[in-house]
């Protein structure tokens, strides 16, 4: 057993976690930044292709209030306006701070340049490089967090649970992947920055570690979730032919720059049938495109691999090369000649609008427990604007780190080993159980595959009460089944033990999404019900989820904070 102590523990080292660690350190706190993967390598930020929305107004007049209006419109009435306003206003500060840190925002004539993206009224999406903004941002933050003397970075420590004593967060329990040693960390404040749940879906655009950890840890610690019925599907994820070395959402920048056309298997453009705009434009919002493609599939007009065609064949080679240069050759190496062939695309799970319920200081209802980045629910309502996720990571990360440091500073550490003992015993039982595995290999990979298929088919883009209810039954059974699965008997880098904890989080998160989706009997934003196709103004509320004492999830409804009812 290893025991560590700090002022602020940040769980998850993507964009939000790294920014939280930087902010906590510069506000006078000792910090531990822990990630089950490697610092600044996992999570969603590093996967970002391009767009980072901020109303800098360098090229065209813009204001954060306009950005806020666009964000609220996209959110379909469910945004927490306080959080949305913080996001839009402080995105400017964070983008400028990153500029000072020499992240390298693309410039034209000395001005940081912004592109137009669906749902925005002004071209305001800044970027570093049209396919590599995420890696550039992650690298910049890795450098900054390494310079923060009071921040200790730990790669390869998986946090399982927040430790709560008398209703207050006092640290966490986890384990060191390299040698399976249990780790306890005493902390005056804990920031959950391990958001995202896209791994729950068979088709997804995320890193392997995005499996709902933050939501599940928050629930188990007594915090509240909101808007869990709203995972976002990216409409045109790459499906076929097999493409390696590029992220499946890579067609987005192509569409920003070149438009592109979508066809079903019969060669027809179809977005107009669903309220969108066809032809060489990229104006239709993500939820409508996802809906349209899924409907075409259901109508039997799908491509061989279950998607639709994205075509740039109407463009000349010169236009393609002028826009994307060497990327055209990279695609050719993948057997994709855009002048000759179309590619198959499909919606893929991409982002989660819902998440942990916090106030403007990123505090949960559990004192000492904070959330940051995609882990936070509310700022994006029922549908997120393209470009709002990366500033959300920066802005909410910075705030969570700053306010957690303020809370933690000067507070006496009050580690209560008794409060951690249940979590430690559970971990030791999992490690010990391996010796009883009877030589059988834990079938955790198979369980993962089943959950991903189940969520994709029944809790995906188009939902019905019947599909959701059958998914809920199976998820609850799987939670029970997981209890009796033994990990493999390895001590070093035991991925089956990690799979077990990942699945524990994933199943609780999946149950939250499914239950919330059953309860919302309307279609709104990213939540589309085939049995309730219209938006019901009477359901303009947020749904709140909590864990009951017996471990079941309970929900109720809250009026939208700051929004019109």
């Amino acid at each position: 057993m290893i025991h560590l102590e700090t002022h602020v523990l940040v769980v998850g080292a993507g964009g939000a976690g790294m920014y939280a660690a930087i902010a906590a350190a510069r506000n006078g706190a000792d910090v531990i930044l822990a990630d089950k993967s490697m610092i600044g390598r996992g999570g969603a930020t590093i996967m970002a292709q391009m767009t980072t929305a901020a109303a800098l107004g360098e090229e065209e007049p813009d204001s954060w209030e306009k950005h806020l209006d666009d964000t609220l419109d996209a959110g379909r009435g469910l945004c927490n306006e306080e959080l949305s306003a913080i996001l839009c206003e402080e995105a400017i500060d964070r983008i400028r701070e990153m500029d000072d840190w020499k992240v390298g925002w693309a410039r034209k004539d000395g001005k940081i340049t912004g592109v137009m993206a669906p749902g925005h009224s002004v071209p305001r999406c800044v970027y570093v490089d049209f396919l590599n903004t995420g890696p550039a941002v992650a690298k910049c933050l890795r450098t900054q967090v390494a310079r923060a003397d009071s921040a200790l970075r730990i790669s390869g420590v998986a946090i399982n649970d927040v430790v709560v004593d008398d209703g207050v967060a006092i640290g966490a329990v986890g384990w060191n992947l390299e040698d399976e040693t249990p780790v306890t960390i005493a902390a005056n404040a804990v920031v959950l920055a391990a958001g995202g749940l896209t791994r729950l879906y068979a088709r997804n655009s995320a890193s392997i570690n995005m499996n709902g950890d933050a939501y599940a840890m928050a629930l188990r610690a007594g915090a509240e979730l909101m808007d869990m019925e709203f995972p976002q599907f990216f409409p045109i994820g790459h499906l076929a032919p097999r493409l390696v070395g590029m992220d499946p959402i890579m067609w987005d920048p192509f569409r920003y720059k070149l438009g592109g056309r979508l066809f079903n298997a019969d060669g027809e453009e179809f977005l107009h049938r669903y309220g969108g705009e066809d032809a060489d434009k990229y104006t239709t919002t993500r939820d409508i495109i996802s809906y349209g493609i899924t409907k075409e599939n259901e109508a039997g007009r799908a491509t061989d691999n279950g998607g639709v065609y994205l075509s740039f064949r109407h463009l000349s080679e010169k236009v393609l090369r002028d826009a994307f240069g060497p990327v055209i050759d990279k695609l050719a190496n993948n057997g994709i000649d855009l002048m000759e062939r179309d590619v198959e695309v499909s919606p893929i799970a991409h982002y989660h609008m819902g998440g942990i319920r916090v106030n403007g200081s990123m505090e949960t209802c559990v004192p000492g427990l904070y959330a940051a980045g995609e882990a936070v629910g509310g700022a994006n309502g029922a549908n997120r604007l393209s470009g709002n996720a990366i500033p959300e990571a920066f802005v909410f990360g910075e705030r969570a780190g700053r306010f957690a440091a303020e809370y933690a500073r000067g507070r006496n550490r009050s580690w209560v080993a008794d409060a951690a003992v249940g979590h430690v015993d559970q971990l030791n039982a999992m490690i010990g159980r391996q010796t009883d595995a009877n030589g059988e290999k834990a079938a955790l990979g198979g369980m993962w595959a089943e959950l991903q298929r189940l969520m994709w088919e029944k809790v995906g883009v188009l939902r019905t009460g019947d599909k959701l209810t059958s998914a809920l039954t199976r998820i609850r059974d799987m939670r029970t089944e997981l209890e009796s699965v033994a990990p493999a008997d390895d001590n070093e880098f035991n991925l089956t033990l990690q799979d077990w904890y990942d699945l524990r989080s994933a199943l609780l998160t999946a149950e939250s999404v499914t239950l919330a989706a059953i309860n919302r009997t309307e279609s709104r934003g990213a939540h589309q019900r085939e049995d309730f196709e219209q938006t019901d103004p009477g359901q303009t509320y947020n749904q709140r989820l909590r864990l009951d004492n017996d471990g079941s999830i309970v929900s109720d409804y809250l009026s939208v904070a700051g929004g019109a009812q």
């Binding site: 290893i2 993967s37 490697m38 610092i39 390598r41 996992g42 590093i46 996967m47 995420g134 890696p135 390494a146 200790l152 970075r153 730990i154 790669s155 390869g156 420590v157 060191n176 390299e178 040698d179 780790v183 995320a206 890193s207 392997i208 570690n209 032919p241 097999r242 493409l243 390696v244 070395g245 590029m246 992220d247 499946p248 061989d304 993948n334 057997g335 290999k441 834990a442 079938a443 955790l444 990979g445 198979g446 993962w448 595959a449 493999a488 390895d490 070093e492 880098f493 035991n494 991925l495 089956t496 799979d499």
Partner: protein, 122 residues
């Protein structure tokens, strides 16, 4: 029409430093254009979840965690194409082996054991 699926043999070098390493061969359904990472993920999902392997970003060559030796050559598993005749996949030979395909590529300052050793607590 796509051709009928064929299986290709993937040999994985397994084991921990203190024991003799061994080879284990798996038959993986081949799909045109698939990566070495696709093959390892298929094995973990369908045959043996206990293979130790490090990766995060799946196939975008963004996280840089999945570096292994493919037929003795250092490659990112996510961008190395699987040969239609199969491949041998092993851990990096110039890094300390942890288990199977996982080597110690974590910067020393981020490694908990190294941190504790420097504090005299390890």
């Amino acid at each position: 029409m796509s051709s009928p699926p064929k299986n290709v043999p993937i040999t994985i070098l397994r084991g921990v430093p203190e024991e003799e390493t061994y080879e284990e061969t798996f038959d993986v359904p081949y799909r045109e254009g698939m990566s070495v990472l696709d093959a390892v993920v298929w094995i973990r999902t369908n045959v043996d979840s206990s293979i130790a392997f490090r990766y995060s970003c799946v196939n975008a060559n963004a996280c840089k965690e999945c570096m292994v030796a493919v037929d003795g050559k250092t490659e990112y598993a996510c961008t190395a194409r699987l040969s239609s005749d199969g491949n041998t996949v092993g851990p990096l030979t110039n890094k300390v082996l942890i288990r199977d395909l996982v080597t110690d590529i974590v910067p020393p300052k981020e490694n908990l054991r190294t941190i504790l050793a420097e504090r005299g607590e390890g």
